[in-house]
Symmetry: C2
Subunit: 396 residues, 2 copies
């Protein structure tokens, strides 16, 4: 298929056939340009990243797993620079078109992967999620997307950002494809949609719904009701008693500092080129005092404790994935910065606690823009969340 939506890295349209007869046979996939593909330079979304680095000689674990599963790789997709960005506007490579929300950003940093799946160019695509980089584009592009349990999958061959928060993830347009891919990636069968493995309790995170735009919260209500009918029970709870903005503050303390440490030798040796906003994030990350990080690590423990308490096996929690649908492209930083901060308030728990989360598409605002509902389960419940996704689609 042609790429007229600017989702792929120029010159990256390699085609690697999947293993014949695998469970994913017949499916095509793309990979965010943070994943190594043997023989292809890993671009990282930054034109100075590949300089002086050897071309990978082996595939990243995620690439190899999908190929072994039978899926065919069709190319590498544009990403925010070294995954630092949540909107999907790359000053070097451009902004992939969000076919579900014309004139608006696709979300990032897994921008090209989400845009390519949404446009039907491939069936699934690999992304990464440190602070929301799968969840946000999934919400903005109307896709299924997963941020798996932190530490569960092998990140070998994936360009790191902030390792204590880094995960991979993937997108799909329909629940059945999403389940097929998830089963291979997780190495685990997805429970049947009508099975007893489905959760029996639903928590509605009232603070998160209250934080989202009113029309987003409204648009998600039918899905919440369907979720409740699947689980059989639901109750409202505050997710973040300390405050969503306090959780966000902890994440914005830990993640940028860790990202700076990941890249500091490169910054020092290469003085690479970045969009101003990306360099700014790294500079701010370099200046976070240890006292702030000490506090943020304590808050991280509180967040983990809170989610563990809320989410025993059999319970899931739902919240708006993003507080609003995709913003317009090309807006000034003074408009985008406050939007980023609000997104972080609804995404910070992922990087802080590492619990698995799935974005469920289907809702649209009164303007017709997609916006996602997320479900979170206890650590390791990834397959169960995918099962809920399939059950929910069956009910739509």
């Amino acid at each position: 298929m042609t790429d007229d939506i600017g989702a792929f890295v120029p010159g990256s349209r390699v085609r690697l056939e999947g293993r014949a007869g695998g469970p994913l046979s017949g499916l095509t996939f793309a990979a965010k340009d943070l994943f190594d593909v043997a023989g292809v330079p890993t671009g990282g979304g930054n034109h100075d990243w590949p300089t002086g680095r050897p071309v990978p000689t082996r595939h990243a674990w995620a690439i190899q797993t999908l190929l072994d599963g039978g899926a065919t790789l069709i190319g590498k997709t544009i990403t925010d620079e070294v995954s630092l960005g949540i909107l999907g506007e790359n000053a070097f490579d451009g902004t992939p078109v969000n076919v579900r929300a014309p004139g608006r950003v696709p979300g990032g940093s897994s921008s090209g992967s989400a845009a390519a799946v949404a446009a039907g160019i491939c069936d699934t695509a690999l992304g990464t999620d440190t602070g929301g980089s799968v969840r946000v584009p999934a919400s903005f592009c109307g896709l299924y997307g997963i941020r798996p349990t932190h530490g569960r999958l092998d990140l070998a061959g994936m360009l790191p950002q902030a390792p204590t928060s880094d995960t991979m993830g993937w997108f799909a347009r329909d629940a059945e494809t999403f389940a097929r891919v998830s089963s291979v990636m997780l190495g685990e069968a997805i429970p049947p949609a009508n099975g007893r493995a489905l959760p029996t309790k639903l928590i509605v995170a009232v603070d998160a719904f209250g934080f989202a735009d009113a029309d987003v919260a409204e648009a998600l209500q039918p899905m919440v009701r369907r979720l409740a009918s699947i689980t059989g029970s639901s109750r409202e709870e505050i997710m973040a008693p300390q405050g969503l903005s306090v959780w966000a503050r902890a994440q914005r303390t830990l993640q940028p500092h860790e990202a700076f440490n990941t890249f500091r030798a490169w910054l020092d040796q290469g003085n690479p080129r970045f969009a101003f906003s990306v360099a700014r994030a790294l500079v701010m990350g370099s200046m976070i005092p240890e006292s702030e990080r000490t506090w943020a690590n304590l808050m991280r423990q509180e967040v983990r404790g809170r989610l563990k308490h809320l989410l025993p096996p059999g319970t899931i929690l739902c919240l708006p994935t993003t507080p609003f649908p995709a913003p317009l492209r090309g807006q000034p930083l003074s408009v985008l910065d406050p939007l980023r901060d609000r997104i972080t308030c609804l995404c910070a728990h992922g990087g802080l606690a590492g619990f698995p989360q799935v974005n469920l598409p289907g809702a649209v605002t009164v303007d017709g823009l997609p916006v996602g509902l997320s479900i979170i389960g206890n650590r390791g419940s990834d397959a169960g969340l995918v099962a809920v996704a399939r059950a929910l689609e069956g009910k739509i």
Copy 2:
């Protein structure tokens, strides 16, 4: 002439003949790509600067003045991004070759202008000097260079950085050419080398000599002695009783904040691409608290008072232009950052006080690298400093 030293902006080799019969007839000049040339986009050393800006329809004052004087423009030269840099390594356009110090930086931000004059590609070239951007490359490339009295010349059509420190400036290889160009630019005759207009008192800034590398201070001694023989008297004085590093601190407080304000609308609207070090300088500039700027403005008044006290008419002060000769190209930021900070200690007075300064070439270190001696005079004494340069060359 060809440009095999990477001094010129690609595609900028316009040729505009100077007015026939002018005092600068027969001379060629280049202009740092911060000066408007009618019909040519002003690049500013940054690939995103020209975006959305109209192509200039008239020449900058400095360009028009040299053309009217009879000099012929041969092209526009590479600069550090929007003049933010002191070493002359541009991540987008490369590093002009310093023919006087192979393998080493040319100095910046007027890097291409200095490199082109040093290589003999043109007779003179326009630069700008906010925090040392003419003085430093003049020192590193072994050239005459002037930072005129702040506010004296018309900066119309010149890309600003920090207006309370910004000046233009120019380079030449020999004192006679330097004097011809200076006379036209200053609109004032340069006093004869043997005239009574020459200063009669020389102050040797012992703190500045003590701050420079020992071999630099040593290499400059013969020139200091010749200067003393021209003036007839000399004495040693502390230039900065508060400390050169305190003066530098004041400059590093005022200039980056002002630069951020100059560019903030562009940063906000365009999120432009920069080398990390340049973006870092702007981010740091954005975060300087008002209390620090209040202090720095008071220190600026102290610096002005100190130089006014030291430099009555007829007195000049000399100091090493830079604490060391040109550093090696391509070094990591962790090596370059402390070098930049040391350079600022010997250059900060320029932006803080606005007194005129001329770099005198001629000295070389034991390694054969050029290093400059600077002379400073009271406000408005620009022509007198140029006269000293001519007198000194006559004595060499």
